[in-house]
C-alpha cells in the first residue's frame, strides 16, 4: 500500500536546524564574531560587498558567517537584503582623483607624480605557509611615514597631454540602473561596467584571461591601479549643495591598450576601466580587460568571434546569483516532466521496434 510522502514541512524545519548546527561547528571551539570576520577576512568581505552591490562591511561579514563561508551564498544574502532597502537618491559620481590612496602603482611608468605606493599587497610575498600563524597571530608593527596629501592625478592623464590616448566622451546624462531596469541590449558602456563590477570574480577573471591568451587579444598594460578611500557626496535639494555622506574603499584600474588605428581612428592608446568596491584588485584588473574587449565596435575593430567580445554572452552570464540559482534549481523535483519524457521514450522505442520487426507486428 502506497501512501504519498507528506511531511515536507517537517523535513524542511529539521534540515534548517541541522544546518544551523553545522554552521556553528564544534561548540568547544570559540564562536567567530562578525567583527573578527570583518577585520580578519577583509578580502572576503570586500568580494561580498562588490558582488552583492552593497557597501556595508558589517552586513557582509554577517552574511559570510551565516553562509558558512560560502561567498556566493553570502553575496546572495546581501543582494536579497539590498533589494528591500528604500532608495533616497543617487550620489554624485565619486572623484577618484581625490582618493586617499593606500596603494597606487603603474606598470607603464617607472615613477610618476604622487609616486608608486605598494601598499598592503601579496605581490612580493613568497607563498609559503606561515605555520607561526597557526600558533599565534601576533604581528610586528609596520613602519609608517607621513601621509601625502593633495590630489593624486591619474597616470593616463599624462598620456592624454600628448593626445596619445583616446579621450573618453563625457556626459552628464544619468546612466541606466541595472538594478532597477531589466537588462536590454545593446547595453551602453555604463551599463556594461555596472554588470561587470557586480559580476562573478571567477567569471570575469576567466573572460579577461581568455583575451590575454588570444581570444580577442588587446594587449593591456596596467596604466594605473589604485586602492584607497573616496568621499561619497550627495546633493541635498533642501540645502542646495552637496554634502559628504560617508566614504568608501575602492579599487580602480585603468589599462592602456595598444591600438593600431582603424578606418575612423588614428593610431593611439585606448583604455579599459575597472572600478570595484573594496580592495579587490584581481577583479578590477579583470574588469578593465573585459571592458576593453567589449568596446570593439566603438573602436571599429573586427569581431573575432571571441567570447569576451560578445556583450550578450558576457552580460547574461556574469551574475553568479542568477547562474548559481538556475544551475542548482535542477535538483528541485522535475518528476512530472520526467514522466512525460518516460512516456515519450517508451512510445518511440515501441514504434522503432515495430518497424524493425514488421513480421512480428503483423
Amino acid at each position: 500500500m502506497y501512501v504519498a510522502v507528506k511531511g515536507g514541512e517537517k523535513a524542511i524545519d529539521a534540515a534548517h536546524a541541522w544546518l544551523a548546527e553545522e554552521r556553528r561547528g564544534d561548540v568547544t571551539v570559540p564562536e567567530l564574531s562578525v567583527a573578527q570576520i570583518r577585520e580578519q577576512m577583509a578580502l572576503a568581505v570586500n568580494r561580498v560587498m562588490a558582488e552583492g552591490s552593497l557597501y556595508d562591511p558589517d552586513l557582509a561579514a554577517l552574511a559570510i558567517k551565516q553562509a558558512r563561508g560560502d561567498l556566493i551564498e553570502a553575496i546572495f544574502l546581501i543582494r536579497a537584503y539590498r533589494t528591500t532597502l528604500p532608495r533616497f537618491g543617487y550620489s554624485n559620481p565619486v572623484d577618484t582623483e581625490k582618493m586617499a590612496c593606500d596603494r597606487r602603482i603603474s606598470a607603464t611608468f617607472k615613477d610618476a607624480p604622487g609616486g608608486q605606493v605598494l601598499g598592503p599587497t601579496f605581490d612580493y610575498t613568497h607563498r609559503l605557509l606561515d605555520f607561526k600563524l597557526a600558533a599565534d597571530g601576533e604581528v610586528p608593527e609596520a613602519p609608517t611615514r607621513e601621509t601625502q596629501t593633495g590630489p593624486v592625478p591619474h597616470i593616463t592623464d599624462f598620456l592624454n597631454q600628448e593626445g596619445l590616448i583616446q579621450t573618453e566622451p563625457t556626459s552628464d546624462e544619468a546612466p541606466r540602473d541595472l538594478t532597477r531596469e531589466p537588462l536590454e541590449l545593446p547595453a551602453d558602456r555604463a551599463l556594461r561596467l555596472q554588470s561587470l563590477t557586480r559580476g562573478d570574480e571567477g567569471f570575469i577573471l576567466g573572460m579577461a584571461y581568455s583575451t590575454q591568451r588570444g581570444y580577442a587579444r588587446n594587449h593591456a598594460f596596467v596604466g594605473e591601479l589604485r586602492i584607497g578611500t573616496c568621499a561619497v557626496e550627495m546633493d541635498i535639494p533642501e540645502l542646495g549643495f552637496a554634502v559628504e555622506i560617508g566614504e568608501i574603499e575602492l579599487t580602480e584600474c585603468e589599462t592602456v591598450n595598444q591600438f593600431a588605428g582603424s578606418k575612423t581612428e588614428p593610431p593611439q592608446f585606448t583604455r579599459g576601466y575597472g572600478l570595484v568596491f573594496g580592495q579587490t584588485e584581481r577583479k578590477a584588473i579583470s574588469m578593465a580587460l573585459v571592458d576593453r574587449a567589449l568596446r570593439w565596435q566603438e573602436m571599429g575593430e573586427d569581431n573575432l568571434g571571441a567570447a569576451a567580445q560578445d556583450a550578450e554572452f558576457v552580460l547574461y552570464h556574469a551574475d553568479n546569483i542568477q547562474a548559481t540559482g538556475f544551475l542548482e534549481h535542477i535538483k528541485l523535483p522535475h518528476y512530472v516532466d520526467f514522466q512525460s519524457e518516460l512516456e515519450l521514450v517508451r512510445k518511440m522505442r515501441a514504434d522503432a521496434q515495430a518497424q524493425t520487426m514488421p513480421e512480428a507486428a503483423e
Binding site: M1, A4, E181, Q339, S340, K347
Partner: protein
C-alpha cells in the same frame, strides 16, 4: 537583525512596476514583457518570477494555493506557501476551488478554474525559441517579425528523425494566432487546458520577463495536419482514486520493478477519494490516512 517587510515582501513601487508589466502582458497575449526583476530571498530557479507576480497581485483577503509538480506538499511548494503566509499573512488552502491565486510549477490543476481565479506560473526559460537560437537579440527580432519558420523546421526534423515530435513538456503554443509562447515546463498533457476561464500569468525572474493569457484566449499547440498534436499521459488509471483522466506520476515501489501510478494533482486525488472513489491499490479515504 529583525525587520518588518512590506505586505507580500515587495515594496509598493516595485509591485506597481510589476503590475504594469502584467497589464501590458494581458494587453498583448503571449508577448514577453521585460521587467526589472528583483532579487528575492529565494534563489533564481526556485520560482522568483512567479513569487514576484503573486506578491504584486495578492490582496490581504485572498486565499493562496501553491503547487509544485501538481502537489501541495512538495518541498518548494511548502517553502513558497510559508513565504506568503509569513510576509503577506494571507490564508492558504490546498483546495483548488478555494484559492483565489494559485502559484504553480510544472502543472495545471486538473479541476477547471473559474473566472475569479488567477493561475501564476513559475517560468525558467520564457523564450520558446531559446534552444533554437541562444541570442535574445535575435529571438526578439524573430517574434517581432513573426518569423517562426525555425520552430516549424525543428518540429519537422523531429518527425523525420524520430517519427514523432520529441517534445513532451514545455510544448510550444501559438497565442491568438500571433505569438509563439512557452507554456512553462508543463507536460504537453496540460496544453489543452491553457484555454481557460481564469487569468494566467507567467513570471520568469532570472530572465526578467512576464507574459500573460487573458481568460478564454485561443491557445494552439503547434503541430502539422498529418501529425496532429497529441496530449499524452501514462496509459493507466490512478491506483489510489481510479481516475483515468488525470495526469499520473509513476512511483517505483520496490527493487523488482514494481510500480504504481498516482495522480500528480494531490488535491484532485484527495477530493476524489473523499467522494468515495477507490483505485486498484487504494483504500477507502480517511481524513488522516495520508
Amino acid at each position: 537583525m529583525t525587520q518588518d517587510y512590506n505586505f507580500a515582501y515587495l515594496d509598493e513601487q516595485t509591485k506597481r512596476m510589476i503590475r504594469r508589466a502584467i497589464l501590458k502582458g494581458l494587453a498583448v497575449p503571449g508577448y514577453q514583457v521585460p521587467f526589472a526583476s528583483r532579487e528575492m530571498p529565494m534563489p533564481y530557479g526556485w520560482g522568483t518570477g512567479g513569487v514576484q507576480v503573486s506578491a504584486s497581485i495578492l490582496t490581504p483577503e485572498d486565499t493562496m494555493k501553491v503547487i509544485d509538480q501538481g502537489a501541495d506538499d512538495t518541498t518548494n511548494a511548502v517553502s513558497i506557501r510559508k513565504f506568503f503566509e509569513k510576509t503577506a499573512g494571507v490564508a492558504t488552502s490546498e483546495e483548488t476551488s478555494k484559492a483565489d491565486v494559485i502559484q504553480t510549477r510544472h502543472r495545471i490543476p486538473e479541476q477547471d478554474l473559474r473566472e475569479d481565479q488567477i493561475l501564476v506560473y513559475q517560468v525558467p526559460i520564457p523564450e520558446p525559441l531559446r534552444f533554437l537560437e541562444p541570442r535574445e537579440t535575435e529571438t526578439r527580432k524573430m517574434h517581432a517579425l513573426e518569423e517562426y519558420g525555425l520552430m516549424h523546421v525543428k518540429l519537422y526534423e523531429d518527425i523525420s528523425k524520430n517519427g514523432a515530435i520529441s517534445t513532451s513538456y514545455a510544448y510550444p503554443v501559438k497565442v491568438e494566432g500571433r505569438y509563439v509562447m512557452d507554456p512553462s515546463p508543463i507536460p504537453k498533457f496540460d496544453n489543452p487546458k491553457l484555454e481557460m476561464a481564469a487569468v494566467q500569468l507567467f513570471g520568469a525572474g532570472r530572465e526578467q520577463r512576464i507574459y500573460a493569457l487573458p481568460p478564454y484566449t485561443r491557445v494552439v499547440s503547434l503541430d502539422f495536419e498529418d501529425y496532429p498534436f497529441e496530449p499524452s499521459k501514462a496509459d493507466h488509471a490512478c491506483d489510489l482514486c481510479g481516475s483515468d483522466t488525470s495526469y499520473l506520476d509513476e512511483v517505483i515501489m520496490d527493487d523488482a520493478g514494481g510500480r504504481m501510478f498516482v495522480c500528480s494533482d494531490t488535491d484532485f486525488c484527495r477530493s476524489r477519494r473523499a467522494a468515495g472513489h477507490v483505485g486498484a491499490q487504494g483504500v477507502p479515504f480517511e481524513e488522516d490516512a495520508a
